[in-house]
């Protein structure tokens, strides 16, 4: 499988990016806005997939990394008056530091204990946001002022609230993270992560420090999720505690499972599918969660490895 020319992988991924770029000009306004949101949340899912899909570590607390980016960027704008680029960097830094600390503590456990510990830390993070309401806005959240949501390139200011700019900025972030993930999973480090997922003890006995490798995976994953959070704050202008709740820890897991764990394009596909299933179903009935449940059951029955995971298994073995 290593003999297939790398050109094929990059051609596929660049084609996906090109299609998403074309959609910027083709989509009607409503779907255009929805798609920008999906792209940012797909970045969140890709970050989750790095840890869950490739390293095999199931975290139930990833909302804290998304929220670290969200609040890191949002609070820097609201309280420190920072511009968009440094605020984005602040969000990334918060995610990186938080994931390093959480990784150091929670990787002392594994399996179910790891799930519980990460979930517990995320709850602490969520409650801390509510507790420090004077700064964070508590359960009301904060609105990121529009004048701060501007990206200046050269002398040209771009208003991140403008739909076109917003979509293309979201796409740029998505494309960068997608290509970085592709390079990472095809690298030697990616091979080590898969080895740890498949048999950690065997990997140790090949001379690998599995703890350090897993810690690096938590930090990479947490930082990508924080990038999604920071971008969300700056593009959509709202920072809210609901993004730190349990629901936003479960959602990326669901998106990744639907799209296909340990596939590079699965997170996008999963996020897209779930968003549109909910969107279409809620147009017909208030009991749309029932439809979502049925769709999930059908997926488990016919695509147990997620959409792309099953496609890879049955038809396209070379998919990364």
């Amino acid at each position: 499988m290593r003999d297939i020319a790398p050109a094929r992988f990059y051609a596929l991924h660049l084609a996906v990016i090109a299609v998403l770029f074309a959609l910027n000009f083709l989509l009607p306004a409503y779907h255009h806005g929805l798609m920008a949101r999906i792209l940012v949340l797909a970045v969140f899912a890709m970050g989750y997939n790095m840890l869950f899909g490739y390293a095999g570590l199931l975290s139930l607390g990833h909302s804290m990394f998304f929220a670290a980016g969200l609040y890191g960027a949002g609070l820097a704008v609201v309280h420190l008056g920072w511009g968009a680029p440094p605020a984005f960097a602040a969000g990334l830094a918060c995610g990186a530091v938080l994931s390093l600390v959480i990784g150091l503590l929670s990787l002392r456990t594994s399996g179910v204990a790891f799930m519980i510990v990460t979930m517990m830390f995320a709850q602490v993070f969520y409650l801390a946001i509510l507790y420090f309401a004077p700064w964070t806005g508590g359960d009301q959240g904060l609105v990121v002022p529009r004048q701060a949501r501007v990206l200046t390139i050269g002398d040209q200011p771009f208003d991140l609230a403008d739909p076109q700019v917003r979509y293309l900025t979201a796409l740029a972030l998505f494309a960068a993270v997608l290509l970085a993930c592709l390079a990472l999973v095809r690298s030697r480090y990616g091979r080590v992560l898969v080895a740890i997922r498949e048999n950690e003890e065997r990997t140790t006995m090949l001379g690998y420090d599995t703890f350090s490798n897993k810690l690096a995976a938590v930090v990479v994953s947490g930082t990508i999720c924080a990038a999604a959070g920071a971008a969300y704050a700056l593009l959509f202008g709202y920072v809210g505690s609901n993004f730190a709740g349990v629901q936003y820890s479960i959602l990326p897991l669901l998106w990744v499972l639907v799209g296909g764990a340990a596939t590079t394009l699965g997170p996008l596909l999963g996020t897209l599918t779930m968003y549109y299933v909910i969107d279409v179903a809620s147009g017909y009935t208030t009991a749309y969660l029932l439809v979502v449940g049925v769709v999930l059951i059908l997926l488990v029955l016919f695509f147990p490895k997620g959409i792309l995971g099953s496609v890879r298994q049955r038809w396209l073995g070379w998919l990364p």
Binding site: R2, R191, E201, T204, L206
Partner: protein
């Protein structure tokens, strides 16, 4: 000549059970040493203490003149102790190539070249006769080939001490003969410690044999001496051949 590996007073208790009990053991460089003993004699526990999969209750392990008693397993591997598992544990979903690439890229961690990894991987696969199966998922290899892949992964680390835990278990007679040749080949540049239940294999391969019984070393000597040892016959061989 200085010994490659020594243990002194090495013990490991599991609750009230003394799985390994006060073992003093010396291994010289270049040896092929056989370890035999009845089931539950503590053989696997003993080699697990050597490679760091479990830590001793008391006692020390010296490797190449350094005390490695407290070192975690992955650091011992980096110093040159490779262990191949008793129960085949190749990465079933990865190709044979990727299985061997893992130890090669670890050993060559200072080198960034893909070509040197490829040559290291193919070298180990060729020595074990698996080169033409490099792209097959390891889980789809025949059982005998999986055992060989396991050895190839150990070889790829270029170890100074290769520990083989019941490597011929489940192999056919023809495969066992090839395997004996392979181990002799490996022993030209590595010390080999082999736990084996198959007596003819041990008798052919090992220069010296250590017999374990109830967590202790019962006897040690050349295959000829071990065969003649009455205590060994009582504890072990007798029950097999009687």
């Amino acid at each position: 000549m200085k010994p490659l590996l020594t243990t002194s007073g090495l013990s490991r208790r599991f609750g009230g059970l003394r799985a390994v009990d006060d073992v003093d053991f010396t291994l010289m460089p270049g040896e092929i040493r056989g370890i035999i003993g009845p089931n539950g004699a503590g053989k696997t526990t003993f080699v697990s203490l050597l490679c760091g999969r479990i830590l001793p209750s008391t006692g020390t392990v010296m490797f190449d003149g350094a005390d490695i008693t407290g070192l975690p397993a992955f650091r011992r591997v980096r110093r040159g102790i490779a262990y191949t598992f008793q129960i085949t544990s190749v990465f079933a979903k990865l190709s044979a190539y990727d299985n061997v690439a893992l130890p090669v890229q670890r050993r060559l961690s200072d080198s960034r070249s893909t070509a040197s990894i490829r040559s290291g991987v193919m070298g180990a696969l060729e020595r074990t006769g698996l080169a033409d199966r490099a792209s097959m998922p390891a889980g789809e290899l025949a059982y005998g080939h999986q055992r060989l892949l396991e050895v190839a992964m150990g070889l790829a680390l270029k170890p100074r001490l290769l520990i083989l835990d019941e490597p011929t278990q489940g192999l056919s007679d023809g495969e066992i003969e090839n395997f004996i040749d392979l181990v002799r080949d490996i022993a030209r540049d590595a010390t080999v410690l082999i736990i084996e239940h198959n007596m003819p294999v041990v008798m052919q391969l090992a220069g010296r044999i250590t017999v374990f019984d109830a967590g202790r070393i019962l006897a040690e000597g050349t295959p000829h001496e071990i065969r003649a040892d009455l205590r060994v016959q009582d504890a072990y061989l007798g029950t097999q051949h009687g």
